[in-house]
């Protein structure tokens, strides 16, 4: 359950931001979950809510909103665009799990489906990002 570690980074970043902005309560935190990281959403949300209980400033119940972000992979060699979900079936369980831990190892285990190049980039949907925080002062 390495989702806990990522949830902890979200909660700490939200708290840091709220402290800078002098918020007394955090009411809403929007988190984008990139497709490549293959986060277990329920576990992640559970971890966020558990970690939120002991924070200052206070984080309101059910403050976390999760949005899944589809990935876009773009080949630097031939320009082909594709999604991780298009190629996931071709990867074995170990490869897929490795990408779950470190999304960049997709460059190790996958190739451009059009030209076979390993030189592609993740332009969308890599991992977990904190996209917005709302609160009251």
């Amino acid at each position: 359950m390495h989702e806990w570690a990522l949830a902890e980074s979200i909660v700490m970043a939200a708290v840091e931001t709220a402290q800078k902005e002098k918020l007394k309560t955090i009411t809403e935190v929007t988190v984008h979950i990139g497709e490549l990281q293959q986060i277990e959403k329920e576990i992640f949300l559970f971890a966020l809510n558990e970690l939120a209980k002991s924070q200052k400033p206070k984080i309101k119940n059910d403050a976390f909103h999760l949005k899944t972000e589809k990935s876009t992979l773009v080949c630097k060699t031939c320009g082909h665009c594709w999604k991780y979900s298009d190629m996931k079936k071709k990867l074995n369980e170990t490869e897929s799990e490795s990408i779950h831990f470190i999304p960049e190892v997709v460059f190790v285990h996958a190739r451009c489906p059009s030209c076979g190049s390993p030189d592609f980039e993740i332009t969308k949907g890599r991992g977990v990002t904190l996209t917005s925080i709302k609160g009251v002062r």
Binding site: H2, A5, L6, S9, S98, E104, F107, V108, V128, L130
Partner: protein, 241 residues
């Protein structure tokens, strides 16, 4: 917003010392020094972690003979303990395949590893650095603020040229440099010692070229018995390690 940077300090807070074994040049024996240093400290009863940050060519696991290990998952990932060393490497996730990473990917991998690795409490975290002053070195300086540097060179003027550049940037950034180890020496030349002294950095001593070393690679017990390890132990005593 990048959330992972917020949690790194917490992940590292119970580590007493972080020592990055670095060089401006590849092939000078950084991984051997880093692995041997970790073994030496573990043998002396310290709690030790070893992080291989050479993402293109990780080799600490080859030197220490670490195979068929994988981190446990618990509120992050917990490095397996081998030879008394908590060992973390990209190799768990690349399975020895080629790793064609660009700079931005390198930084993302380092951030991810630092954010999700649960080291627990350690006396020492040793980092096996890749050569040069690229992303990995800059990221270690940026995110692992307490890191100290142990620099390795060979007697070659070519190696020292690149090592001088690394030393100069570390000095400019006011990073603690424990000193320079001269590895694989075959003569009594004092060239490296003089060059290091010009930069006001401590010259720590020589590890003589050891023909038997290659046979000890992959076997931590045999490694500990090599002349190279004996030379290193003397050097490490100089800096109370």
């Amino acid at each position: 917003m990048e959330p992972r940077t917020s949690v790194i300090e917490k992940r590292l807070k119970n580590i007493k010392r972080i020592i990055a074994v670095a060089s401006g040049k590849g092939g000078v024996g950084k991984s051997l020094v880093a692995s041997s240093l970790a073994l030496h400290l573990a043998h002396n009863g310290h709690k030790v972690g070893l992080l291989d940050l050479d993402l293109y060519g990780p080799s600490s696991h080859i030197i220490l003979g670490i195979k068929d290990e994988f981190p446990a998952e618990e509120k992050g990932i917990i490095p397996p303990t081998v030879h008394g060393i908590s060992f973390m490497s990209i190799v768990y996730f690349t399975q020895e395949k080629p790793s064609p990473f660009r700079g931005v990917d390198i930084s993302n991998i380092i951030l991810e590893l630092l954010a999700i690795t649960q080291w627990g409490s350690l006396d020492f975290l040793i980092i096996d650095m890749p050569p040069g002053i690229g992303d990995e070195t800059l990221d270690v300086i940026r995110y692992m603020k307490t890191s100290e540097f142990l620099v390795v060179t060979t007697p070659s003027k070519v190696a020292m040229g690149a090592v001088s550049k690394l030393l100069k940037i570390l000095i400019e950034l006011k990073k603690p440099v424990l000193g320079v180890i001269e590895n694989m020496t075959m003569t009594d030349s004092s060239f490296i010692k003089q060059e290091v002294k010009k930069l006001n950095v401590r010259y720590l001593g020589k590890i003589h070229f050891d023909e038997t070393l290659e046979e000890a690679i992959g076997n931590a017990d045999r490694l500990a018995e090599t002349q190279a390890m004996k030379n290193l132990t003397v050097i490490l005593m100089e800096i109370n390690l």
